[in-house]
């Protein structure tokens, strides 16, 4: 029998705000446990939440970027459940009146483009982090209260590839909108999967399982590939799927049932009496929409028009916002748009990928790369020397000119100085001279290489070539 998979995702995205969702604590990571906390995010008696307006703005902007309808009236609700990572044992969330409704994300899989519909986007607070030691457990409340946006999709996805493409597209838009850093390693984006399969042609949905707390897109792909096959196998064998929550075991490469009573919840939602509803005006939403950053498609068009780049280059450069920003800085600082594109797409992206690093985390600065490009354009550096300088800029940072001087890499274009090298090489390689004169034009490359070697890479190749030709052809 032919089966089809029906997949819906719930994506939790930490917002890039200055402070937490309901208190004044900084929204930061990497601090010692329980040092970024206060009576509010620790749930002390008498402490009250105050809404972070910046988080509301970012969520509305995300809604605008994702084609949602913005609810001018939305409200807060308490979601009740006991767990040690919850300071109040209820989470402040939005139940029946979220900030954004509907929406869509365009994806492209195997050359087919289509829209994945969103159900809603709401705002809530993140929980703390439970840490397990050998014989005890601890809770780090630094993360508690981080603004968390939950995006819920319609059951519109049908394969692991589609889910993966959707998450990539979503991440690109949110990073572009500066809604979130979308740093997966930091846990900025986490995902719950709902998945069922049914025989092709059947109208009603199959029984679904839920896989919670996925923190990598590759993990989502693997988990879905496994789970879809598992469900097909069970149904083909005449079995039934149990509605349950399953856990993805990344090491074993399989999902496992977690039949825990904790998950049989009645959350007893009710309106949060400590907060007032969120009331927005059309004008406010409009002004937030007007300050939205340019999205990838528009930026790609602009790169082609404004910088005269081939469409291919533009596509590669805009894929990640930080790279596109970096490119623009380099291009504007050096004025040679195509060279900038070559350096960013080539050396820079290769080095970043080898170092597994984000561009803003590397010591390489845009103006330094621009300076390097200018040195090449001014013929102060030849390519091999430029690549050597780049390596230094990438690993240590610094000023390209200073590096050129310190390493003595400046190109030698003085023909007087180079003539001596040419003379030496012609004498030492009579066969190549013979070959060239015999019609093998390529032989001149070998001779050039020898001159470059003698100059320790500093010779201006064009001058060398001219000198060689005038000697050999003359």
């Amino acid at each position: 029998m032919e089966f089809e998979a029906i997949i819906g995702l719930e994506i939790h995205v930490q917002l890039k705000t200055c402070s937490k969702m309901f208190c004044g604590c900084a929204n930061v990571t990497g601090r010692a446990p329980n040092t970024v906390v206060c009576p509010v995010c620790l749930g002390y008696p008498g402490a009250l939440p105050v809404m972070n307006a910046e988080a509301v703005r970012l969520t509305v902007q995300a809604g605008l970027l994702l084609n949602c309808r913005i609810n001018l009236f939305s409200k807060w609700d308490r979601k009740n459940y006991f767990y040690p990572d919850q300071a109040k044992n209820y989470q402040i969330s939005q139940y029946d009146q979220p900030l954004c409704l509907g929406g869509s994300v365009g994806i492209s899989v195997d050359g087919t483009e289509r829209e994945v519909r969103l159900t809603r986007i709401h705002l809530e607070e993140d929980v703390a982090k439970n840490i397990h030691f050998e014989s005890s457990s601890g809770v780090d409340f630094n993360r508690a209260g981080t603004p968390l946006m939950e995006i819920v999709t319609e059951p519109d996805l049908h394969s692991a590839d589609e889910a993966y493409a959707f998450l990539q597209a979503l991440k690109q838009i949110l990073a572009y909108g500066e809604i979130s850093d979308c740093n997966l390693e930091e846990g900025n984006v986490r995902c719950d999967i709902n998945c069922s399969v049914r025989p092709v042609g059947q109208r009603e949905l199959g029984v679904k399982t839920e896989i919670k707390n996925m923190n990598s897109f590759k993990g989502v792909h693997r988990a879905l590939s496994y789970e879809i096959e598992r469900q097909k196998r069970v149904l083909s064998g005449g079995g039934t799927i149990v509605q349950e929550t399953r856990r993805w075991d990344d090491v074993a490469g399989m999902t496992q049932s977690m039949r825990s009573k904790e998950y049989a919840h009645d959350y007893r939602y009710f309106p949060e009496p400590d907060l007032v509803p969120v009331e927005l005006t059309e004008a406010q939403v409009e002004s937030w929409g007007a300050t939205l950053p340019e999205l990838p498609a528009a930026r790609r068009r602009r790169f082609v028009e404004a910088y005269g780049l081939p469409d291919y280059d533009a596509g590669v450069l805009v894929a990640e916002k930080r790279i596109a920003d970096f490119y623009e800085e380099v291009a504007q600082a050096c004025g040679n748009y195509k060279a900038a594109s070559n350096w960013v797409m080539g050396e820079t992206m290769r080095a970043l990928s080898e170092a597994n690093m984000e561009v803003d985390a590397s010591p390489l600065r845009a103006e330094a790369l621009a300076g390097l490009i200018q040195l090449v354009d001014q013929k102060t550096l030849n390519m091999p020397a430029a690549k050597e300088v780049f390596q230094v800029l990438f690993t240590e940072g610094g000023e390209p000119k200073a590096i050129v001087e310190a390493r003595g890499l400046a190109q030698v274009s003085d023909s007087g100085e180079l003539e001596g090298f040419v003379e030496q090489v012609l004498e030492a390689h009579p066969q190549s001279v013979e070959a060239y004169r015999g019609g093998k034009a390529n032989a001149i490359q070998h001779l050039m290489g020898q001159v470059m070697r003698l100059s320790r890479g500093k010779a201006n190749p064009q001058v060398v070539l001219d000198l060689l030709r005038s000697r050999l052809d003359g």
């Binding site: 008696p45 008498g46 105050v50 308490r78 009740n80 044992n89 007893r268 007032v276």
Partner: protein, 496 residues
């Protein structure tokens, strides 16, 4: 020992200004009064005498430096539900035994900024759930007028301390009458400000949409003086309202003339103690004599108020009290896993009334029951609010009894929670509708127990109800009477 503990805020401020006494002497006299009567009354849970005296000395220094604030050197007792940095905040519960608060409630901060001295922590029903202070996990507080009777609740300690003259004034909290009813039982003035008038930041929540902090004092003028300092928007409380704060102490002097007072028919009904009914009616007549116009009004949805209140309050409480789980602070009873730890901690930490309300609140919010209970109760709440809006279309304030009874015997109603709930019938409506209300003495029973009446006003019209109450108080002397046990503390040497 002197007699400074007998003063009101107003009279004390005059003496402090004139240099007739120091704040340290005031605190000393109050500590002396506690020594003399608190063994019998049981109003206080904890008193840090050393810190109070140090704060008083500080206030005296400020006065000498010409930097006296609005309440400089005035001692105020604090209900144990409000957070004071470095002090315990038990909320009358074993589950918070040993907890020391890391921060000041906004009202406490404002008192400090005005120069007040924080005197000590007064007893209450556990988590403010109760009407007699018998639900405190720590001690039974007695009514200073008759030690065999309750002081009312949940702010029973706040009212008993003021009535027994072991506090000049105190702060309480009112969720369904918890300031007004004990004030009435103890012959004090108790003010419940409009919802949003006073910040709730640092007030341990019972029912967030109903809770308000309010003062308990001996006179209306003193209540106005405290409200002046407490009122106003707070960025830490989103439900506090940025409405202008009038000069209460001046506004209350405008007199009764020209005011229309409403008598809600549903608050003068059978079942109320005849002595209470008669005293409140007499007070209404007195108001009329003072120049007010009196008319009857109707609040037709009153019969549904108790049910709506106990659904909404317990629903909110079930979530508010979920944080007491033994993980971060307070009492912890270990278990095999977190769930068992929660169960054991809460089983041992909470008393029976708190558990009853958590179970009730959890039930009314449960899937399948939400619409029938919580949602319906919210609709009733809207109807009650509309009732009051219609009534206030015709009058400036309403007059009613605070409670159908006067103070009852200790243990008399503990076996029947429902009877106890019904005693809140005249007070819960102001909380449901977000109104302001002030309770003040309007007579005594033949047996010598205080009777209270309440003046209810529209939201953010505190100056209006205080004006009515002040005009009445000026014309009567109920507020000047003292319980017999206070006489033991009166020094004949200084008593003129």
């Amino acid at each position: 020992m002197g007699n400074l503990h007998l003063e009101t805020i107003e009279s004390l401020q005059a003496k402090l200004r004139e240099g007739a006494c120091s704040s340290v002497e005031v605190v000393q006299d109050l500590l002396g009064a506690m020594e003399a009567v608190d063994g019998q009354v049981g109003a206080y849970l904890s008193v840090d005498a050393e810190t109070a005296l140090a704060e008083a000395a500080e206030a005296d220094r400020r006065r000498a430096d010409g930097k006296a604030g609005a309440l400089n050197g005035v001692p105020v007792a604090i209900k144990d539900v409000l957070n004071v940095k470095g002090q315990p905040c038990t909320c009358g519960s074993k589950i918070l035994e040993g907890f020391v608060s890391p921060y000041d409630a906004t009202v406490v901060k404002r008192l400090r900024e005005a120069g007040a001295v924080l005197l000590g922590r007064v007893n209450m029903d556990e988590f403010a759930m109760g009407s007699s202070t018998e639900n405190s996990a720590f001690r039974t507080t007695r009514n200073p007028w008759d030690l065999s009777r309750v002081p009312g609740g949940s702010s029973g300690g706040s009212a008993a301390a003021v009535a027994a003259r072991e506090a000049i004034a105190s702060l309480g909290s009112d969720t369904g009458g918890s300031v007004r009813q004990p004030a009435a039982f103890c012959g004090c003035v108790g003010l419940k400000p409009s919802y949003g008038r006073v910040s709730r930041y640092g007030l341990t929540a019972y029912a967030s949409s109903l809770d308000q902090v309010g003062p308990v004092t001996r006179t209306v003028s003193d209540a106005a003086a405290l409200l002046q300092v407490l009122a106003g928007a707070d960025p830490m409380d989103s439900t506090s309202v940025d409405a202008p704060v009038p000069d209460y102490r001046e506004e209350i002097k405008l007199g009764m003339e020209g005011l229309t007072l409403g008598l809600p028919a549903e608050y003068f009904v059978e079942g109320t103690d005849p002595e209470v009914d008669a005293a409140v009616r007499a007070a209404v007549a007195q108001c009329e004599a003072l120049g007010a116009t009196v008319r009857e009004v109707s609040l037709p949805h009153t019969p549904y108020a108790i049910a709506a209140y106990y659904i909404i309050a317990t629903a909110e409480a079930s979530a508010n009290l979920a944080r007491f789980d033994g993980v971060r602070y307070g009492r912890r009873v270990e278990g095999q896993d977190p769930i068992e730890m929660y169960g054991r901690t809460r089983a041992e930490g909470f008393g029976p009334e708190v558990k009853r309300r958590i179970v009730l609140g959890t039930y009314v919010l449960s899937s399948g029951y939400y619409d029938a209970y919580y949602l319906r109760a919210q609709k009733v709440r809207t109807l009650i609010r509309d009732d009051f809006a219609a009534a206030f279309g015709d009058c400036h304030a309403l007059i009613a009894p605070v409670s159908p009874t006067v103070a009852y015997g200790v243990g008399e109603k503990t076996g029947d929670p429902l009877q106890m709930y019904l005693g809140d019938i005249f007070t819960v409506t102001a909380n449901l509708a977000g109104l302001c209300g002030v309770a003040l003495p309007c007579g005594f029973t033949a047996g010598g127990l205080p009777i209270g009446m309440q003046v209810l006003g529209p939201a953010f019209a505190e100056e209006q109800i205080l004006r009515v109450a002040h005009a009445y108080e000026e014309a009567t002397d109920w507020h000047t009477r003292r319980p017999a046990l206070v006489e033991e503390t009166v020094s004949s040497r200084q008593e003129g």
